[in-house]
């Protein structure tokens, strides 16, 4: 195998070859480390590369597999971890200056599960400061670049994870999603990003202050939907260490992949999402819907009367919860935050307490409206609307989407978060899968949302769409770098 062959490699394919002994985890890990050494100086996807421990883990995996102790489909699979998941003895910065030197003495539950499954951890990935933003322009660890265009951001906050997967610098990455931080960078980097149902995956070991209690989720970024299902299988489930994790039984997440979807019905929320599509995104989304209809899916417009309030609910709830986590550092190290984030936290200190409760009550209203909507449809499909802006555009706050000027921020937060935050508010499982490219060659995401704990259906629809549309076959050109 050569380094360039990594670009088309999936977990599903490599795990079969590893299991049969045809592919060596040691060789595979060395190739990924070689590619990281070549690309990371330009892409800056990783803040920490764990070359020595990855090679040691690969040797152990190889020995175990040769001796008949094959642990799981992830045995010997090289992955990366966002830098806000605790990893024992390894820097876990949360993208912050404050935690720049922190090396936890424990692993996040997800990391424990992945280690038990036999993964090889290549390193920790860059992220937006404290996961509280969507660009991964990080003042302390540098800007992560989008593999499709190095002058553009990869999205965020899991921007390093998305860039690493898109640039074939790992086979999967674990991210976190409190407002779209898995789905937005996945969309902007043309890969698959899944935010499971609230509580489906333990958040124990997440860096406090990098995700609000009510809206945070750990998620999976991969190159294909099937790979996403394979990783979810290993990390899902109740965790007594996380009081917010769900006791609902897990599913066999790849079981419905490849099945027909013609018996399913998809809901659209045009009253909300039509306002969020710019440039060619509207055409791209319409083409994706036609593709789903060709696969037999029926569509229906849904009414969610309070949908427009979802971003306000999210802003009030998440910022109030987050500032509680940051209180100690605001009192002791306030000037170690970027000014933008410091001002945001100080503003949150001034939120009226009653508004937090009101927002949680409006959240109940929204959840009930979605519950009624899901009596009529099996999934909801939406665009993940804003393609990756140029780095310089983020400073100006305006991006250009196929000639249309789009503001990147308003009082509700980032414009790109508007597509994704409704499902952080409600907790429904949601995936982004590539559904086309803008005139500037930037990927666009299709968001597929399911009923609570029905990740299998979300993955089923996403996989059928992915295979029929074929966008996943397109790769960023990185051969001339490094």
């Amino acid at each position: 195998m050569t380094e360039s062959e990594l670009e088309n490699l999936t977990i599903a394919e490599s795990s079969e070859r590893i299991k049969s002994g045809e592919l060596s985890p040691v060789e595979l890990t060395d190739l990924f480390l070689q590619r990281i050494a070549r690309l990371n100086p330009s892409v800056n996807a990783y803040t920490t590369v764990l070359a020595d421990s990855a090679r040691a883990e690969a040797k152990i995996a190889e020995q175990e597999i040769r001796s008949g102790n094959y642990r799981s489909v992830l045995h010997g699979i090289p992955i990366s971890i966002k830098d806000n998941l605790a990893t024992i003895g390894v820097p876990t910065t949360g993208g912050s200056k404050i935690l720049a030197d922190w090396k936890p003495d424990f692993d996040a539950t997800v990391v424990v599960k992945l280690k038990a499954a036999g993964v090889i951890t290549l390193g920790k990935t860059n992220m937006h400061e404290w996961a509280l933003g969507g660009t991964t322009i990080n003042p302390f660890f540098g800007t992560t670049r989008n593999p499709w265009d190095l002058e553009r951001v990869p999205g965020g906050s899991s921007g390093g994870s998305a860039a690493a997967v898109a640039a074939a610098m790992c086979l999967a990455s674990i991210g976190t999603d409190s407002a779209g931080s898995v789905r937005n960078p996945a969309a902007m980097c043309g890969i698959v990003g899944l935010k499971p149902t609230y509580g489906r995956v333990s958040c124990f070991g997440g860096v406090p202050g990098t995700g609000a209690y009510s809206t945070n989720h750990f998620g999976v970024l991969t190159r294909t939907v099937k790979d996403c299902a394979l990783v979810l299988q290993e990390i899902a489930g109740y965790d007594p260490k996380d009081p917010l994790s769900a006791a609902e039984p897990t599913d066999v997440y790849s079981a419905k992949i490849g099945r027909e979807i013609g018996y399913l019905k998809a809901g659209l929320i045009g009253s909300y999402y039509d306002k969020l599509m710019f440039g060619k995104v509207e055409q791209i989304f319409a083409a994706a819907l036609r593709q789903l209809e060709l696969l037999g899916i029926k569509t229906e417009q849904l009414s969610i009367p309070h949908m427009d309030l979802a971003p306000a609910v999210h802003t009030v709830v998440s910022r109030a919860e987050l500032v509680s986590d940051h209180d100690h550092y605001l009192r002791t190290r306030a000037r170690d935050y970027s000014p933008e984030l410091l001002y945001r936290h100080i503003h949150a200190l001034m939120f009226p307490a009653g508004s937090y409760v009101t927002a949680q009550r409006v959240r109940r209203l929204l959840a009930e409206e979605f519950e009624r909507a899901f009596e009529r449809v099996d999934v909801i499909v939406t665009p993940v609307s804003i393609p990756a802006p140029k780095i310089e555009e983020c400073g100006r706050g305006v991006t250009d989407v196929d000639g249309e000027k789009v503001s990147l921020r308003d009082a509700r937060g980032s414009t790109w978060g508007l597509s994704t935050v409704p499902f952080n508010v409600t907790g429904h499982p949601a995936i982004s899968v590539c559904c086309g490219f803008t005139g500037a060659g930037q990927p666009v995401g299709l968001q597929i949302v399911g009923r609570p704990f029905e990740e299998s259906t979300v993955l089923q629809v996403a996989a059928r769409y992915e295979e029929a549309a074929g966008w996943y076959r397109r790769k960023p050109q990185l051969s001339g770098i490094g």
């Binding site: 149902t197 609230y198 509580g199 009510s214 917010l244 769900a246 609902e248 309070h306 427009d308 309030l309 306000a312 609910v313 802003t315 009030v316 605001l330 009192r331 306030a334 000014p339 410091l342 001002y343 945001r344 100080i346 503003h347 200190l349 001034m350 009226p352 508004s355 409760v357 009101t358 927002a359 949680q360 009550r361 409006v362 959240r363 109940r364 209203l365 929204l366 959840a367 519950e371 099996d378 308003d410 009082a411 509700r412 409600t426 907790g427 009923r451 609570p452 704990f453 029905e454």
Partner: protein, 59 residues
């Protein structure tokens, strides 16, 4: 609002400049519609949503 912000500044020891206070107070003003929108909703029969409830068997 400025008095409140000055009190927070003293309590937390931020040492905010006048320019920084203006930035934060502008954010406060810009966010007012968010609170107004939420406060306009009739939530009298609604309890806060604190975790996801699953009702009925999966299809």
């Amino acid at each position: 609002m400025k008095t409140w912000l000055q009190k927070l500044d003293r309590e937390y020891g931020f040492q905010l400049t006048e320019a920084e206070m203006d930035i934060i107070l502008n954010e406060v003003t810009a966010a007012e519609p968010l609170f107004e929108q939420l406060n306009a909703v009739d939530v009298r029969s609604k309890t806060p949503f604190v975790r996801l409830d699953v009702k009925g068997p999966k299809k």
